[in-house]
Amino acid sequence: MSLDCGVFHTRYESDMGLRPRPLQRLRLVTLALFVLVFPFVASPYWLDLANQVAIATVGAIGLNILVGYTGQISLGQGAFMAIGAYTAGLLTLNFGVPWGASVFAACLVTAAAGTFFGLPSLRLKGLYLAIATLAAQEIVEWGMTNWTAVTGGTEAIVLPAPVLLGVRMNTNFNFYWLAVLTAGGTALFAANLMRTRIGRAFAAVRDQDIAASVIGVDVFRTKLLAFATSSFFVGLAGAMIAFHRNIITWERFTLSTSIVFLAMIIVGGLGSIRGSFLGAALITLLPAMITNLGRAIQDTAPQAASLLPYAQQAVFGIVIILFLIFEPRGLSKLWENAKDYFHVWPFAYRRGESRG
C-alpha cells in the first residue's frame, strides 16, 4: 500500500478508507454514474456485452484471489464454473429451489469442490499444481459430457428466467442490474478481504511460503481457504452464466475457458481487483471487436469473414504474449502509470520511477 505525497490523514476512518482522496471519490462517482446511465443509452448488443463483462469480472476476481493473491496456479477455472452452473441449474430445474437459493448453494458446492481439488496444493507447487488442476479440468469435463443421467450429457439444459422483486430477468436490461450489483459486490468483498488478516496471509504464502509459516501463518489452511474463497466466486460466475442465457451447455466450461480467464488476469494484472475488471473487459470485448471489424471490411474483402475465428485466436495469443513481455503487471499498471503521469503533470518526475 503506497502512501500518497501531500495527503495527511487526520482521522482513522480516512486512513482506513478504501477511497480516501477526493480525486478517487470523484472517479468512483463518475464510474457509478456511467454504470447507471449506460443501460438507458446502450443498444441491446452492448448491454449483452456489458453483462458478459460483469460476469467475467466476477470469475476473474475469483481466479485472481487464487492465482494473483495466493500464487497458486489453476487451470481448472472452467471446471469450477461448470460445477457452479450445473449445481444452480439442476437445483432450480429438478428440485424447484428458488434461483437465489440455488445460486448460493452453487457457490457453496463450488467452494467445497475447490477445496477438494486444492488438496494437492498441500503437496505440490507451481507447475505440478498447474498440471494437477489441468487433470481436474479434463476429468470434470468428461463427467459433464458423459454423466448423462445428471448433466444431460452434451445436450443443453434450459432454465426458467430468474425473477427478482417481481421482475423477470429475461432481458439484458433487467439482468444488467443484477450482474452489475454482483460484480460490484464481489469487487468490494475482494478489496476488503485483501486488507484483512486472511488476505495478508494469502499474500504472505504467495511471496514466501516458508517465511509465512515462520511468522505464524498456517500455510495449508491458508491455501485451502484461498481455494475455497476463489471457487466460491468462480461458482457464482458459473451460476450467473447459466442464468444469463438461461441455458447450460458444456462448451462454455472447457479448458479454453480456463485459459481465457487466466488470460484476463494476466492481461489485467495479477493481484489487482481493477486489473481483474480491465482484463475481463478487454478479453471479452476483443473477439467482439474483431468480429465487428471483419463485418465492416466484408464488402471490400469477402474472404475476411472465414478468417475471423483464426484472427480472434491469433490476436488473443498475441495480446497475452505482448503483455507478458512488455507489461507483466498488466492493464492495471498501465492505468497506474497514466494516473501518476497526470498526478504531477507538468513535471516529469513519476512516483516509483527510481525503482524502474
Partner: protein
C-alpha cells in the same frame, strides 16, 4: 487374440507419437524449465508443413521431409528468440501463459492458412495392411513404431555423447555452475527448441500418414502431460515408456470399457502418479514440495 494384437500395435504406435511429442517437451523442460503448452501445435505445424510441401507444392518425399524439418526448426528458433528469451527468470505462471499464447497464435495461423477441414493426403508410409498370423495390421502404424524409436534413441544418444547434449544436461543440473564453465545458455536454449521442433515435426509427419491432416492433431499437446508426468519430467526414456503405457491404456480402455473413458483415463493416471510418485518413473527425485 488377434483383436488384442491389433489393439496393442495401434496403442503402441499412438504411444510412440505421444513419446515424440513428450520428448520435445522434456528437452525444453530440461534445458530451460519451461512448460511448453504449445507442443501439440508444433506437431500440428509438422503435419501441415509436410502436407503443404508434398501435396500442395508437389515436392518429392525426401525433400518434403527435409523442408518440413528445416521450417519447423526456423519457427522454433524464432519463437525461442522472440518470445521465450525475454521472459527468462519470470515466474512459472508467465512461462505457462506465454506458451499458451503461443499455442493460440500457431493455431490461428495454421487455421487461417489451411482451414478447419481435414485434408486427404497420400502418406509416405506405405498404405495397405500387414497380415501377421491371425491379425491384420496397418503397415503405416507398424512402421511408425521403429521410426519413432529410432528418433528417440537418437535423442538419447545426443544427450549422452554430443557437446550440446552434455551442455544441456549440465544446465539442467546446475545453471550457475554451467554458466561459470563457459556454457552458452542462449545457444543451449536454441538447440533445445530446435530439437523439440524436430521431434514434434517427425511425430506430426507420421500422424499425417496415420490419422490424416486436420486441426485436431494439436489436441495431442494435452496428452503430453500424463505421459511426461508418468515417465518423469526430465527423462527421455521416461517419455518412451510413459508414451507406450498411456497409448496402450487408451486403446485397451477404449475397446474393453468404452463410454469415452479412454479420453479421461490418462488424466486419472496423472492424478494417481502425482499423489504417489510425483517425479514419475524415471525422473530425478527432486521435486518442489511444500
Amino acid at each position: 487374440m488377434d483383436i488384442f494384437l491389433q489393439l496393442t500395435v495401434s496403442g503402441l504406435s499412438t504411444g510412440m507419437i505421444y513419446a515424440l511429442a513428450a520428448a520435445g517437451f522434456v528437452v525444453i523442460y530440461k534445458a530451460s524449465d519451461v512448460i511448453n503448452f504449445a507442443q501439440g501445435d508444433l506437431l500440428l505445424l509438422g503435419t501441415y508443413l509436410i502436407f503443404f510441401g508434398v501435396a500442395q507444392v508437389g515436392l518429392p518425399w525426401s525433400l518434403g521431409v527435409a523442408v518440413t524439418l528445416l521450417l519447423a526448426v526456423v519457427v522454433a528458433l524464432a519463437v525461442e528468440r522472440l518470445v521465450l528469451r525475454p521472459l527468462v527468470g519470470e515466474p512459472i505462471i508467465s512461462m505457462i501463459m506465454v506458451t499458451i499464447g503461443l499455442s493460440s497464435v500457431l493455431r490461428g495461423i495454421t487455421g487461417a492458412i489451411w482451414g478447419p477441414n481435414p485434408r486427404s493426403f497420400d502418406s509416405f508410409l506405405p498404405a495397405g495392411d500387414l497380415v501377421l498370423g491371425p491379425a491384420t495390421l496397418s503397415t503405416a502404424r507398424v512402421l511408425s513404431i521403429p521410426i519413432a524409436l529410432a528418433v528417440l534413441a537418437g535423442l538419447g544418444l545426443f544427450f549422452r555423447h554430443t557437446r550440446d547434449g552434455i551442455a544441456m544436461r549440465a544446465i539442467a543440473d546446475d545453471q550457475q555452475a554451467a554458466l561459470s564453465m563457459g556454457i552458452s545458455i542462449p545457444r543451449v536454449f536454441g538447440v533445445a527448441w530446435g530439437l523439440a521442433a524436430v521431434s514434434a515435426a517427425i511425430g506430426g509427419m507420421m500422424l499425417a500418414g496415420i490419422v490424416g491432416v486436420s486441426p485436431n492433431v494439436a489436441s495431442i499437446g494435452l496428452r503430453v502431460f500424463p505421459v511426461v508426468i508418468l515417465g518423469g519430467l526430465d527423462s527421455i526414456a521416461g517419455a518412451v515408456i510413459g508414451g507406450a503405457v498411456i497409448g496402450l491404456l487408451e486403446v485397451y480402455v477404449g475397446f474393453y470399457v468404452g463410454h469415452g473413458l479412454n479420453l479421461v483415463v490418462p488424466y486419472v493416471v496423472l492424478v494417481l502418479v502425482l499423489m504417489v510418485r510425483p517425479y514419475g518413473l524415471f525422473g530425478k527425485e527432486i521435486i518442489e514440495r511444500v
